[in-house]
């Protein structure tokens, strides 16, 4: 019991550390990063203590509310600040603190030459604290605080190198698109409050059953908008690729393992609401299906190592969202895949960082090739991650992704066939683009300038000389740990359904459901498409030579390179109308009214007395606005009478 009451310390420690690092400033430059690592590790230790405590209890007692203080208590408006420790939140806490600590350690070496390393760690700690608030909150209001907090940390970290203006633009883009999602969250919260008089999980979920389906659908859809913003789901996915501007540890922690999965958490946590709103659930599944294909297609065409990984993240989260939309049969697998993905994707991002470290910050995969001989540890750890994401047995991804594909095939009517096929197809495309990425980076011939061999290709000779080398121990150890997770975690947690029964108190009983096709057939089919994808990629990117300059490519390739025109669509749909609106309003205020009446003033200017008359003209134009407004309003009100 005592351990759980201290759960607020998990949040307070990294927060305090962030505060110390920011306030003390340059004075702590020498040891500040170790303080950051320590704070994160302390949280991880606390999380493990809590796990032990919970495991010692019966399944029914594993959900514990920890009341902190009354945040907004007055009359009808009651918001308590409290934490909720249950298997679901604790799973996240363990993932965040454990993977977070590994990435902190990695970053000590990765950011060694950056003068602002201390500030970087302050932001990372801030992120960990905010993310823990998000998952530990026991009400939507507190969740929202964490939600905004991770948004802020993400904004700060994407724009960490803000002296590059395009990086600053990327940060702003992420911020703005997240605000769109936040808007959905806020509306959902208001609607919840208006309906149930509370935004506490317990009260809301208890009352959700038997509530008007229309209200639940509205809330569900608005929560989905929030989830889409944060988890880079269609149609709010555009920011994730640009977010790769941040330092690589950030991409691994925030934009692969933890923050972007907050949307999945939100949907699984809000399960009781979605179960009362089948329409909203269907929309969730559709969004997940679209995004998983969308991301996979983009992933096939990207030559930027990190952006290809980002596209893959988007696609994998699409899988999780799809599973989360399936209801109780999918919740546990969504979270399961989230955990395994957190390990293998973080591992691969760290690998990518290691490659960049060894190759002078180069990210273009067409300028890599044959690196397996130079970075053995990176190569091996990356290979495990690669096998895991492909879903090759017995690696982690197999246990989680296969289950999602199976779950997608459960049901009646057209849905299992459509969604199942999409999930299956996605697995094949994933195999192709991940293998493409892997082979282009580590296999094939060298496509970089090693300084002495005179290459016939002038395009290569003109690039700076590279001396690929393995990264220091501080970077490789976290990669190795994550690789172990990529290999074994999925299998370990699947033995006897340990993980699903652990989550059962929150997500409900999975039960036995028969897919529309037999399970052995599905497994065979999945493995078959994966092998096809892999072989295709091998033929094109490992067995034959890869051009250093990308070819023009087909229409689809070109579209995929430009993120399937998502920026253009956003620009056309949102940005430009917004600009027109702004301009016309400004124009209306300054030109139309002043112009019409000020025109009179200007005529008078010629007659004499310059300034005073002009100003009279302006006031008159204001008075004219007021009168016109008044007349219009009286007309409107009287018209409603008639």
């Amino acid at each position: 019991m005592d351990t759980l009451n201290l759960s607020w310390l998990l949040i307070a420690i990294p927060l305090a550390s962030a505060g110390v690092l920011l306030v003390l400033g340059r004075r702590v430059d020498r040891w500040g990063h170790w303080l950051g690592v320590l704070a994160s590790a302390a949280s991880a230790a606390g999380a493990i203590a809590m796990l032990v405590e919970l495991l010692g209890r019966g399944a029914a007692d594993r959900s514990v509310g920890v009341h902190l203080f009354r945040w907004i208590p007055a009359g009808d408006l009651n918001v308590d600040a409290g934490l909720l420790v249950d298997p679901l939140s604790l799973t996240f806490v363990l993932l965040i603190t454990f993977v977070g600590t590994l990435i902190h350690i990695y970053a000590v070496a990765y950011m060694e030459h950056d003068t602002d390393r201390r500030r970087f760690f302050a932001y990372l700690n801030l992120f960990v604290a905010a993310m823990l608030v998000l998952v530990l909150a026991d009400s939507y209001a507190l969740l929202f605080l964490g939600w905004e907090g991770v948004g802020l940390a993400s904004y700060l970290l994407i724009g960490f190198w803000n002296y590059r203006s395009d990086y600053a633009v990327a940060a702003k883009k992420a911020f703005v698109m997240n605000r769109v999602g936040d808007m959905g969250m806020l509306v959902a919260m208001m609607a919840l409050f208006a309906t149930f008089g509370s935004v506490n999980y317990e009260t809301v979920f208890a009352a959700a059953e038997g509530t008007n389906q229309g209200v639940l659908t509205l809330v569900g859809l608005m929560l989905l908008v929030g989830a889409c913003g944060k988890s880079a789901q269609f149609p709010l996915q555009a920011w994730l690729g640009d977010a790769m501007a941040g330092p690589t540890p950030v991409s691994a922690l925030i934009h692969a393992a933890t923050m972007v999965t907050a949307g999945v958490y939100l949907i699984v946590r809000s399960g009781p609401i979605f179960e009362g709103a089948p329409t909203a659930q269907l929309v969730v599944v559709i969004i997940g299906a679209i995004t998983l294909l969308f991301g996979a297609i983009i992933g096939c065409a990207k030559d930027d190592l990190k952006k290809a990984l980002a596209a893959s993240t988007m696609s994998q989260i699409g899988y999780m969202i799809l599973a989360a939309g399936l209801g109780p049969i999918g919740y546990a697998f969504a979270i399961f895949h989230l955990v395994t993905h957190g390990f293998f994707k973080a591992g691969m991002f760290l690998g990518a960082g290691s490659v960049m470290h060894g190759m002078g910050e180069e990210v273009d995969m067409r300028r890599f090739g044959g690196l397996r001989r130079y970075m053995k540890v990176t190569y091996a750890t990356f290979a495990f991650g690669w096998l895991a994401i492909l879903g090759v047995p017995p690696f982690s991804g197999f246990w989680s992704k296969d289950k999602i594909i199976e779950a997608a095939f459960v049901g009646e009517g057209w849905r299992p066939l459509v969604f199942g096929s999409v999930a299956l197809l996605g697995a094949g495309i994933t195999a192709f683009y991940m293998s493409r990425l892997f082979f282009m980076t580590f296999h094939g011939e060298k496509r970089w300038n090693d300084g002495h061999s005179s290459t016939p290709d002038t395009a290569i000779a003109r690039t700076p000389v590279q001396h690929p080398h393995e990264s220091p121990r501080l970077m490789t150890v976290p990669m190795i740990v994550l690789a172990v997770g990529s290999v074994a975690l999925g299998g370990l947690l699947s033995i006897g359904g340990v993980f699903t029964s652990w989550l059962e108190p929150v997500t409900g009983v999975v039960g036995d459901h028969e897919p529309v096709l037999p399970v052995w057939l599905l497994m065979t089919l999945t493995l078959a498409v994966v092998v096809v994808g892999l072989v295709l990629a091998w033929r094109q990117y490992a067995a034959s030579s890869v051009p250093v300059i990308a070819l023009a490519g087909s229409v689809l390739t070109r579209a995929a390179r430009k993120d399937l025109y998502q920026d253009e669509v956003n620009d056309g749909l949102l940005v430009q109308p917004g600009q027109y609106l702004t301009r016309s309003l400004v124009y209306g205020d300054r030109q139309v009214i002043d112009g019409a009446v000020g025109g009179l003033g200007r005529v008078m200017v010629r007659l004499g007395d310059v300034t005073r008359r002009l100003q009279t003209g302006y006031v008159r134009s204001y008075a004219a606005t007021m009168t016109i407004g008044l007349v219009a309003l009286v007309a409107v009100v009287l018209a409603t009478r008639i």
């Binding site: 007055a74 208006a194 606005t625």
Partner: protein
């Protein structure tokens, strides 16, 4: 013909208003008899003591109302009830901070012209400046304005409301024209404010006349009683209600009656802008709240299109135009227009929760506004010779301020975050309360727009923060730079008061929310 019966006057209940107005009269006499040297000190002390005393009196009356319920004073011309006392308390608190900022000066110069009547740029003005003349009339004028504001939300009939409106407006017209720097801009602002204010007063009077013609009374409660029986005369009633509301909407700066706001906020002396932006809005919303909640509940269906339209226009126009401003005071002016739109949401809710949420929002908004303008007054330009001149109000001049004056910048960022409605500031709780009241009142489409608008608004608030903390400071070609003056410490006290209030209301809003909720219960 009935015999004349003198109205009962409960002097005890009038104490807050009497203290303020009595002090104002006393201050006029001080202007007449006390020697120039000590006038400023005497007036400052007197203003602070009077406002503090009035605040204590309001607290005392609050206790009385809590135990005995609200009552009608002076034959119903004034009302003493929960919302009135809460609004008066907020007003006195905000004017307390406002007066401190008004009284502050830097190197012996306050924010006001040495002689308001002098022609700008004339030798006479220059001589007055050298002689160190001070226009201490600022203090009685402010006190008269505060007195009018105290009466405004407590008025029980339209005539009292109108007189209160004029008592609070006339001093403000004058004060707007007294800026020490940029005299022409200031006088222009004063004239514009006066003309348009007179124009809107005419609307108010016309509406009052129509309502009298309809109901035969100017008492709010009597008009409300007459509303259900509107056969055949409904256009008189509706036009009257719309005209009165428009007169009040002018004071809060709702679109399309907002045109004066940016010009006047920019031209007026900055301490006055802060005082005006916070207190006038609080008082006018208090009056609007009373009028709408007492008179119009029977007219919801007729007025909803009108009020919804105004609210939407106000939020959208305020936000969008704030984004394109380049001047700090104009940006804050447009942002205050947008905030007026948010408060309108709580008024539209027509619900007990609406009243309490509006009251809370006004306090949160007022604190951040006074604080923000107080800080704007401290950020000045310095020319190549090192002389401190006018305020550096162009946005670009604020670049990099966070490095040179971290405390000031952090406070300013805090107020901006409160404007933006970020959690853990007063603004967030206020927005949350108002929005949920509006949803409970069935106005969820408005809330969607409001949330969109506040999302867009967050952009320009954050832009200013980024400008202050992450941008290199700029020096203009002629060697002018931005610097921060210290003042005599009065502004610092006021700003800290506002900052502490903003954080406290954001973290522990419960006592004040409770207070607002119980205030709403005692609405007469």
């Amino acid at each position: 013909m009935t015999a004349f019966v003198p109205p009962e006057i409960d002097w005890a209940a009038l104490t807050p208003i009497l203290i303020v107005l009595g002090t104002a009269v006393l201050m006029v006499l001080i202007e007449a008899f006390v020697p120039t040297r000590v006038r400023r000190a005497v007036q400052t002390v007197l203003a602070v003591v009077a406002l503090g005393g009035a605040l204590v009196a309001v607290a005392w009356r609050w206790g009385v109302v809590q135990s005995q319920g609200g009552s009608e004073l002076v034959g119903g011309a004034l009302l003493e009830d929960g919302p009135a006392l809460f609004t008066q308390g907020v007003l006195l608190l905000l004017s307390f901070a406002g007066v401190l900022i008004i009284a502050d000066r830097y190197q012996g110069e306050d924010a006001f012209a040495p002689t308001g009547a002098a022609i700008p740029g004339s030798t006479y003005e220059e001589e007055a400046r050298r002689a160190g003349l001070v226009q201490t009339e600022v203090f009685p004028l402010t006190m008269f304005a505060v007195g009018g504001m105290l009466v405004f939300p407590a008025a029980g009939d339209l005539l009292t409301m109108f007189i209160a409106l004029e008592v609070l407006s006339l001093p403000l017209y004058l004060l707007s024209g007294l800026s020490r720097r940029r005299r022409l801009l200031s006088q222009e602002a004063s004239l514009k404010y006066f003309l348009l204010g007179a124009f809107s007063s005419a609307f108010f009077l016309m509406g009052m006349a129509l309502l009298y013609g309809y109901s035969g009374s100017i008492r709010l409660s009597e008009i409300a009683k007459a509303v259900p029986a509107m056969a055949g005369m409904d256009s008189l009633l509706l036009a009257g209600v719309v005209l009165v509301i428009v007169g009040l909407l002018f004071k809060v700066g709702a679109v399309p009656f907002h045109a004066w706001v940016p010009d006047v906020y920019q031209g007026a002396p900055t301490p006055i802008t802060g005082f005006m932006a916070a207190c006038t809005k609080v008082a006018a919303f208090g009056a609007l709240l009373r009028f709408v909640y007492v008179v119009t509940p029977g007219l919801t269906w007729d007025l909803s299109a009108f009020l919804w339209g105004i609210a939407i226009l106000t939020m959208v126009v305020g936000t969008v135009l704030a984004i394109v401003q380049t001047d700090m005071k104009r940006t804050l002016a447009y942002s205050s227009i947008a905030h007026a739109g948010f408060v309108l949401l709580g008024i539209i809710a027509l619900d007990v929760r609406g009243i309490s949420s509006v009251l809370f929002y006004l306090l949160a908004y007022g604190l951040a506004t006074i604080g923000a303008f107080g800080l704007v007054a401290l950020v000045r330009e310095r020319d190549a010779e090192g002389n401190i001149t006018g305020e550096a109000s162009h946005l670009s001049q604020w670049a990099g301020l966070g490095r040179r004056s971290p405390v000031l910048s952090v406070c300013f960022a805090l107020f901006l975050l409160s404007f933006a409605g970020i959690p853990l500031t007063a603004g967030f709780i206020g927005k949350f309360a108002v929005f949920s009241a509006a949803i409970a009142g069935g106005a969820w489409p408005l809330v969607v727009i409001a949330v969109l608008a506040s999302a867009a608004a967050a952009f320009f608030y954050v832009r200013i923060i980024v400008l202050m903390f992450f941008t290199e400071p700029a020096t203009t070609a002629d060697g002018r730079e931005t610097t921060v003056v210290a003042g005599e410490g009065l502004t610092t006290v006021a700003v800290l008061l506002c900052a502490v209030g903003t954080v406290l209301l954001g973290v522990l809003p419960s006592p004040i929310l409770d207070l607002a909720a119980s205030a709403a219960k005692f609405m007469l």
